[in-house]
């Protein structure tokens, strides 16, 4: 994909400046144990990783825990990263797996709760991070409830596809590459996700006009 490709212009690769000298150089240095180089890679990719985790898990504290876990895994696996795909693509794949692991543990916890083996925790709708603004948290909490309720209606495959395309603003092609699915499957999953979300969200805007081409 060339720099002049329209898709590249609208959907900056998750690999930032894909394999640009600066990221390649940082990667090589980090693989040789340069902690500062790794820090700069973290800073370059943390927003995208966090945004994906937040879309899938819907809790800022969980998303931050998973994002840290992603970079820990990346740090421990750096020597094995061969560069077949871009670093950002690789990190997104690791994020998907880390979120699934997190949800698997959470599902077991819910099983235990439903069986009465452990007490249910209080609902955490508020951003518990120290830097959270209470007023923003209230507004965010309402939005988060809306998104959480809507996204919960999706299957896992629909959800991760939708979050990658819609929330992380990756292209359909990039989403297909990260999830390991065919582009046709990605489009189908997006269609089903949008239809389900339509049913979950409040009634459609009044006066909706038919789409013009």
């Amino acid at each position: 994909m060339s720099a002049g490709d329209p898709e590249t212009a609208r959907h900056p690769s998750p690999n930032s400046a894909p394999q640009s000298p600066s990221e390649s150089e940082l990667l090589e240095r980090a693989q040789r144990g340069d902690r500062d180089a790794f820090r700069r890679l973290v800073e370059a990719h943390q927003s995208g990783v966090y945004r994906l985790a937040l879309g899938l898990l819907r809790q800022p504290s969980d998303a931050e825990d998973v994002a840290q876990e992603v970079f820990l895994r990346a740090y421990r696996s750096l020597s094995r990263f061969r560069g077949d795909s871009g670093l950002g693509t690789w990190l997104y794949r690791v994020t998907l797996n880390a979120c699934r692991d997190h949800q698997r543990k959470g599902r077991f916890m819910k099983l235990q709760q439903s069986l009465g083996l452990v007490a249910e925790p209080e609902s955490r709708w508020v951003d518990e991070r120290p830097e959270a603004d209470p007023e923003r948290s209230t507004r965010s909490g309402e939005l988060r409830r809306e998104i959480t309720r809507a996204l919960a209606a999706l299957s896992p495959a629909e959800r991760d596809t939708f979050v990658l395309r819609q929330m992380n603003q990756l292209s359909i092609r990039q989403t297909a590459e990260i999830t390991g699915r065919a582009e046709g499957t990605v489009k189908n999953l997006l269609f089903r996700a949008l239809r389900k979300l339509q049913k979950e969200l409040a009634p459609a805007d009044a006066g909706l006009e038919e789409a013009s081409p």
């Binding site: 840290q68 820990l72 998104i147 359909i172 969200l201 013009s212």
Partner: protein, 262 residues
């Protein structure tokens, strides 16, 4: 609402144009493909309506996500101290010899029980395309997925039967030791099957086979529950797993009571 509007609302979106519509929602359509869609939209009210609705949903989710995701995150300060911490491994680590022994044991039991159950098993569970879903995989891939689904059921059945038919004698500690069980081995097998089930269920769902995906997910959840039974609470935990299996026997298309009478 005018008759024309009612007609446009009830006219369904053409299935064959869904890919085009999704590309249009995300503005990833151009050239000849765009022209094809434009010509179609000129004469298809259903698709025009569908595109408008899909765009509205996308915009709404984008607006909500923008609000939530505008916060910056700084991971490094909490991440840095953890980089040098020793890596924690999962509590179980299967050795190759253990894997081979477990596989052989399950295969031997599975062949016997699978043959016994075959008339009740596979034909009662729908295979092939879910009419309401989509067929995105090539036929060869779908056949592979069919095979994988059937194999997963066959491999799961022996362990499910073993759990369903087990009775742990009442003991002061209620633990697995009272039944002379190697609960650790069972947990490892269950954990493996739980992970496989989750992956398989996702692929089935992506291929539109909701019922098979649901069945696979249910089995995977049971194995997850089984894999996390503690040795000390084994009796109580096992009773709960068995109760769950009884409650969901319909979904399994298997009757635990019928199997017990065989």
């Amino acid at each position: 609402m005018s008759r024309a509007a009612q007609t446009s609302r009830t006219a369904p979106c053409c299935r064959a144009w869904r890919s085009h519509l999704v590309e249009a929602v995300y503005e990833e359509i151009s050239g000849a493909r765009r022209q094809e869609l434009d010509r179609h939209l000129e004469r298809c009210a259903g698709c025009r309506r569908e595109l408008a609705e899909l765009r509205a949903v996308s915009r709404r989710m984008a607006a909500a996500a923008e609000e939530l995701q505008s916060a910056e995150v700084d991971l490094w300060s909490r991440l840095a101290p953890r980089l040098d911490a020793p890596e924690r491994h999962p509590w179980f680590t299967l050795r190759p010899a253990t894997v081979a022994l477990l596989a052989a044991a399950l295969f031997a039991v599975g062949v016997g029980v699978g043959l016994l159950l075959r008339p009740q098993q596979a034909p009662t569970i729908a295979r092939g395309t879910d009419p309401s879903g989509s067929a995105q995989l090539a036929s060869a891939e779908r056949a592979d997925l069919d095979e994988e689904f059937a194999r997963y059921l066959e491999r799961s059945t022996p362990l499910l039967l073993a759990v369903a038919n087990r009775s742990v004698p009442a003991a002061p500690d209620g633990g697995a030791a009272a039944a002379g069980l190697d609960a650790a081995l069972e947990r490892r097998a269950a954990s493996r099957l739980a992970q496989e089930g989750e992956s398989l269920a996702a692929r089935l769902e992506a291929d539109g086979r909701s019922r098979q995906a649901q069945l696979t997910a249910e089995i995977g959840t049971l194995f997850l529950q089984l894999s996390n039974l503690s040795s000390l609470e084994y009796q109580r935990g096992l009773a709960m797993v068995q109760a769950t299996m009884e409650k969901r026997a319909l979904l399994f298309q298997l009757s635990v009571e019928e199997i017990r009478r065989l």
